[in-house]
């Protein structure tokens, strides 16, 4: 059964902000609200710079859900953490609970259509009827309901950012890690599968 997850490959991410812009475009997120950000550590430090793209991680045991005083969050059957803006009171508690700083609040005074908390929906809209104007205006696009995956992951310039069923993207990532023999340590897979070999051959059916 599909359980939606993101995975960002720090060996690949080049901080191009393609994912960030894809999200802006697909969901028409207003200026100042960022459902996704790219974080660079050791910026400009030789041998140590790494970038990674972060949004709501759609946690299995989501702290935001736990702390929300009005219980506006819910988790869908495919593992996406969504919230109901009609219930949200914009208190910001979830923002403090979230380890990734995912919840976003439009700047003061702009309690317009999306004046309450806004965050990544895994491109799955919200409680409003799917693929309607009302849903789009409040929560953005519902790509899952179109049989598609998050815009950010689908458009990533180096395919660093993967988004979809956790099992499937883990497979994609595993194939890559085995080939290059690097990156598995991030996920503890070095222990699970043994270190990969650099330049290992692609799987059967491959050609040069």
């Amino acid at each position: 059964m599909a359980r939606m997850k993101f995975l960002c490959d720090a060996e690949r991410c080049i901080e191009c902000n393609g994912c960030v812009t894809a999200c802006k475009n697909e969901n028409e997120v207003p200026w100042g609200v960022n459902r996704r950000r790219v974080v660079t550590i050791n910026d400009g430090v030789v041998g140590a710079e790494k970038s990674i793209s972060v949004a709501c991680m759609h946690c299995s045991d989501a702290p935001c859900m736990a702390v929300c005083p009005v219980d506006c969050f819910y988790k869908t059957a495919d593992g996406v953490v969504l919230h109901d803006k009609d219930l949200c009171i914009g208190c910001g508690y979830c923002f403090y609970a979230c380890p990734f700083g995912a919840p976003q609040f439009p700047q003061a005074g702009a309690f317009g259509l999306r004046g309450k908390m806004d965050k990544c929906t895994f491109c799955a809209g919200g409680p409003e009827a799917d693929r309607t104007d009302a849903e789009f205006k409040k929560y953005g696009r519902n790509r899952l309901a179109e049989g598609k995956l998050p815009a950010c992951a689908e458009m990533c310039s180096t395919k660093a950012l993967l988004g979809g069923d956790g099992d499937v993207i883990a497979d994609i990532y595993r194939e890559r890690v085995l080939r290059r023999g690097k990156g598995s340590e991030v996920w503890g897979w070095g222990t699970a599968y043994g270190p990969g070999k650099a330049g290992a051959q692609p799987p059967a059916g491959g050609k040069s």
């Binding site: 080049i14 207003p30 430090v45 041998g47 689908e154």
Partner: protein, 981 residues
């Protein structure tokens, strides 16, 4: 690249991210940092804050019925990677954009720019130029198209009458599609001048001239994709991760398969962060670095001797010079790189073959750019890397169609297809264009001016103010058409503004008013018109990616507001100026280019028939086989093309039944012969491992058959696969074809057309067809030239930048002598360099100033800085300062500073303190405009059309300096001082 980015300021011990992801995040990205990053600083975007949420929801899309929703396949307009995009259009409104996973070039991927292109279709709060405007009493006032055409044509015709056609310069665009570039090239000639140019001048002109003179064609030898077949990539002068982000998909994939990635650059770029090896080099020391590597190659006998013997001329002379002048000590003195590091880099290149050298503006934009690129070519030739899969010179072009515009667009020294402006070329093109050659000659001031290369875009403003007796044409420039070009991409902004004050007529034709408009309003009270052009999403046409693949864009939406397509504007202006019939080749009851109904039912040239005219004329570089039908079939069937080879394994186009088997994606030029003979295109140039009808080839015979008694043709046995002539051979003409006894392979019709012609001028394509049937290359089979004897420095030579930080090196490696006239203008070298030394510029301005790209913006940046999704990501221009540089000056991260240069300019930017640059360099990105030495130019833009983000243009402050061969400007190495604001 946000200023709020965190930097630890010190290297962490482990190079790799070996901790759990969550741990890293928890540690380095506290919430406050995230909050700061989320753009609460609204600064620039007060208007953008009220952006709309919704266009038209899916509910309506479905209610409106499936018939109204169309998916149009187009191509990103922001760089030369050529990423395909599916645009979803509902009732004529562009509502969505979807990735095209099938594209073999980008596999659905996009950088920030490509992921944001739909913004072009949003009309709410658009920052585009919405109607024609005119500068009147210092204010922008709206005028009708008819009025604007009337005024402009009157002024132009009056200027022509008084001063001749050379008083006008037409600055075209690398963002025009192929057909429009081609039409504009023709347009300038029909007006009667060679004063026409476009971005390639300030982008890769040195590459084109240097590389074409080395081995034949001045283009990327292979493709981004082919890097997957490579063992070593040396990025020298390219920051691909920011400038060509999606190319990194191929680069990183190659790296993961064991290919070594080396980045040599003054900055530790994003690309460097992904490299196996990083070498910090002093900006402007490029030839010394490349020949320093070559020194180790020769010293250790790593050169490919057989390859050099068979396919390279002059390597022995280069070797002598390299061994004598570029010793490790000399190289360290010039570049700052120690011997051991040079040795290791050379060894990595030698041990991992085939490999690429990859460059962009980092090599080209120097006063000795032509020598730098040739040194790169020589290094690859010595290693035997060129002309094979997985190896060569991957020259990354900039704009989406800068390759195409260079090939067939408005150039001051050539007609479409690099036919030099010689009488024979004019005769060839007059015939193709279906115009009267004598009429064309009369359009020019004289036949002498017809064959004299025009003024270059890097120096158009000098042609306004230079003393008349010093310029090599009768009048000074009095009028300029700025047709899709930014002024802030040319150096010496202060001088440009002064020249604008004297300019009589400026016409800006652009979807965005561009900084040109604001500068003109600052300089003058009248004499400027703005015409709103459509974007490439508002018209159809073909576009040539960096790898020479040509893609066809479908029109996504109708031109918004009052905008019109560039080709419609060309036609309408031509009507006013009296050469509309010639533009479409209408004569003697024949018309080459059909007119179709465009916006508002008005006539415009059809892009398909324009491409067919290109197909009929551009034999030199094989733009002949790419018929619109073939290109469109490729776009519909992207999935059949292999990613590593770009070749179609099979497949038939459903719509036309066209068999795609064997074609390379986008029929990368040269695609010789007519479309009917189905040449598949050439994915890798000069590749002898393939038959010429399989896209194979060899180096071009363009420089004679021998030089001082030395054979210039390829040695025996070196030829493309299956060639019937197994020795070197010259280019083909009717005489050679007859001598070989192949003449009777031509049909009677072909014979009639080919008689007296050569492979470049035979309009039937018969010579090319027959020659290729015999496995030979129409342009001959020769050696590459390591020594380009017709250039000032036949063997590339390191020469210090005009503004060098080290006077002792200036004494050892001085620049050229001043030149009385090049490209119609005098150009200074030695006098500027000597003056800088005498003035002690290196003491007053102790830091090297270099400039470059950001991923969020493109070129001059007006278009991308008008897009809120991109603008939000980078809201201020900045200067990267090493922590030492900053500390020495009491500057803190995020503060405003003044950067001053020897040009007398001072620009105000924010300080970004980072180890990315060394303590002797500073870096400023070049995409900003809209501030002038500390002052916001908002008031000078037409209302509602100023970009959201404005900032200081680095080129306001850049200094004098041009390449001697091509007039490429120096923007990568000058001097500056930084002080707290």
């Amino acid at each position: 690249m946000l200023l709020t980015r965190k930097s630890s300021g010190q290297a962490v011990p482990q190079a790799r991210l070996a901790r759990g992801l969550a741990g890293v995040l928890a540690k380095t990205m506290d919430r406050r940092a995230f909050l700061k990053r989320s753009g609460v600083t609204l600064g620039a975007g007060a208007a953008a804050a009220q952006l709309p949420f919704a266009m038209i929801g899916e509910a309506q899309a479905q209610a409106a019925g499936a018939g109204k929703v169309e998916v149009k396949r187009t191509v990103c307009t922001h760089c030369s990677v050529g990423c395909a995009i599916d645009a979803v259009v509902e009732n004529g409104v562009w509502v969505r954009q979807e990735p095209v996973f099938d594209s073999p070039l980008n596999l659905g991927a996009h950088c920030a720019k490509g992921a944001s292109v739909r913004e072009h279709g949003i009309t709410h709060d658009s920052h585009r130029l919405k109607s024609p405007m005119k500068l009147e009493g210092g204010k922008w006032v709206k005028v009708t198209w008819d009025q604007a055409y009337e005024d402009i044509s009157k002024r132009l015709l009056a200027i022509k009458k008084e001063s001749g056609p050379d008083a006008l310069m037409i600055i075209g665009s690398s963002k025009h599609n192929n057909e429009q570039s081609y039409l504009l090239c023709k347009w300038a000639r029909l007006w009667g001048t060679n004063n026409t140019d476009h971005q390639a001048r300030i982008c890769h002109s040195t590459t084109v001239a240097g590389i074409a003179n080395t081995w034949g064609y001045g283009a990327m030898t292979n493709s981004y994709n082919d890097e997957q077949n490579s063992k070593c990539l040396l990025f020298f002068g390219s920051n691909a991760a920011e400038a060509h982000p999606v190319s990194m998909l191929h680069t990183l994939h190659a790296k993961e398969n064991g290919c070594k990635v080396i980045v040599a650059d003054p900055r530790y770029t994003r690309t460097a962060a992904k490299a196996d090896k990083y070498v910090r080099v002093r900006s402007g020391s490029d030839v010394a670095f490349l020949f320093g590597l070559l020194h180790h190659v020769f010293k250790n006998g790593w050169e490919d001797k057989k390859y050099i013997h068979d396919r390279v001329y002059g390597m022995d002379k280069v070797k002598e010079e390299v061994m004598a002048k570029y010793t490790p000590a000399a190289v360290q003195e010039v570049t700052g790189v120690p011997e051991q590091e040079m040795y290791e880099t050379a060894k990595m290149l030698a041990e991992n073959r085939p490999g690429f050298i990859i460059w962009a503006m980092g090599q080209t934009q120097h006063t000795n750019g032509n020598a730098i690129v040739r040194a790169s070519a020589v290094l690859m030739l010595a290693l035997g890397n060129v002309g094979r899969p997985g190896g060569g010179a991957n020259i990354y072009r900039g704009h989406d169609n800068v390759q195409g515009a260079t090939d067939i667009g408005p150039n001051p020294d050539s007609l479409p297809g690099y036919y030099g402006i010689a009488p024979g070329s004019f005769a060839h093109w007059a015939k193709v264009w279906n115009i009267d050659l004598d009429w064309l000659k009369k359009q020019y001031a004289s036949e002498a001016m017809m064959t004299k290369p025009g003024i270059t875009v890097s120096r158009w403003y000098d042609a306004i103010v230079e003393k008349n007796e010093n310029i090599d044409q009768d009048p000074n420039l009095r009028a300029v058409l700025f047709w899709g070009h930014a002024p802030n991409s040319q150096s010496r902004g202060l001088d440009m503004l002064e020249a604008m004050k004297k300019l009589e007529l400026m016409v800006v034709i652009d979807p965005y008013p561009s900084a040109t408009a604001a500068m003109m309003a600052m300089a003058k009270k009248e004499g400027c018109y703005l015409l709103p052009a459509a974007t490439q999403f508002e018209c159809a046409g073909s576009v040539t990616a960096s790898n020479r693949s040509i893609q066809w864009r479908e029109k996504v939406i109708e031109p918004l507001f009052e905008a019109r397509n560039d080709h419609m504007i060309m036609y309408q202006l031509a009507q006013k100026l009296g050469f509309a019939d010639q533009l479409v080749g209408k004569r003697d009851g024949k018309q080459n280019i059909e007119l179709v109904k465009g916006k508002g039912g008005m006539d415009e040239p059809s892009m398909e028939s324009t491409l067919r005219e290109v197909n009929r004329g551009v034999w030199t570089i094989g733009y002949t086989g790419q018929s619109p039908e073939r290109l469109k079939a490729h776009m519909r069937n992207m999935h059949v093309f292999d990613v590593k080879t770009l070749r179609a394994k099979g497949g038939k186009d459903k719509e036309t039944g066209y068999d795609l088997t064997g074609d390379y994606f986008g029929l990368p030029w040269p695609c010789f012969g007519t479309a009917e003979i189905k040449h598949p295109g050439s994915p890798n140039l000069y590749d002898t491992s393939r038959h010429v009808m399989d896209g194979g080839g060899n180096f071009r015979a363009n420089f004679g058959v021998e030089k001082d008694g030395v054979n210039l043709l390829a040695e025996d046995g070196s030829h493309s696969k299956g060639a019937e002539i197994t020795t070197g051979y010259p280019e083909f003409d009717h005489v050679l074809v007859k001598k070989l006894g192949w003449w009777d392979d031509l049909t009677e019709a072909e014979k009639a057309a080919a008689e007296g012609k050569n492979w470049k001028t035979d309009l039937s394509g018969g010579i090319q067809r027959v020659v290729m049937k015999h496995g030979c290359h129409p342009f001959g089979n020769a050696k590459a030239r390591a020594v380009v004897w017709n250039f000032p420095d036949g063997i590339p030579l390191h020469r210090e930048p005009l503004y060098s930080p080290k006077p002792e090196l200036v004494a050892k490696w001085p620049t050229h002598a001043d030149q009385k006239v090049r490209w119609r203008l005098p150009v200074l070298f030695k006098s500027v360099q000597d003056k800088a030394v005498a003035d002690k510029a290196h003491e007053k301005f102790p830091l090297i100033l270099t400039s470059g790209r950001l991923v969020e913006f493109e070129g001059g940046g007006e278009e991308t800085r008008s897009n809120p999704w991109l603008a939000e990501l980078m809201q201020d221009n900045f200067v990267e300062l090493n922590p030492k540089t900053a500390a020495d000056r009491g500057i803190r991260h995020g503060e405003f500073v003044w950067v001053s240069t020897p040009s007398g300019a001072k620009i105000k930017v924010k300080a970004l303190v980072t180890e990315r640059v060394g303590a002797d360099h500073v870096f400023i990105p070049f995409h900003f405009s809209g501030w002038w030495q500390g002052q916001d130019m908002l008031g000078y833009y037409p209302e509602g059309a100023a970009p959201i983000v404005r900032g200081e243009a680095v080129n306001t402050a850049t200094t004098y300096g041009y390449d001697i061969v091509t007039m490429m400007q120096e923007t990568k190495t000058t001097l500056c001082q930084v002080a707290k604001a």
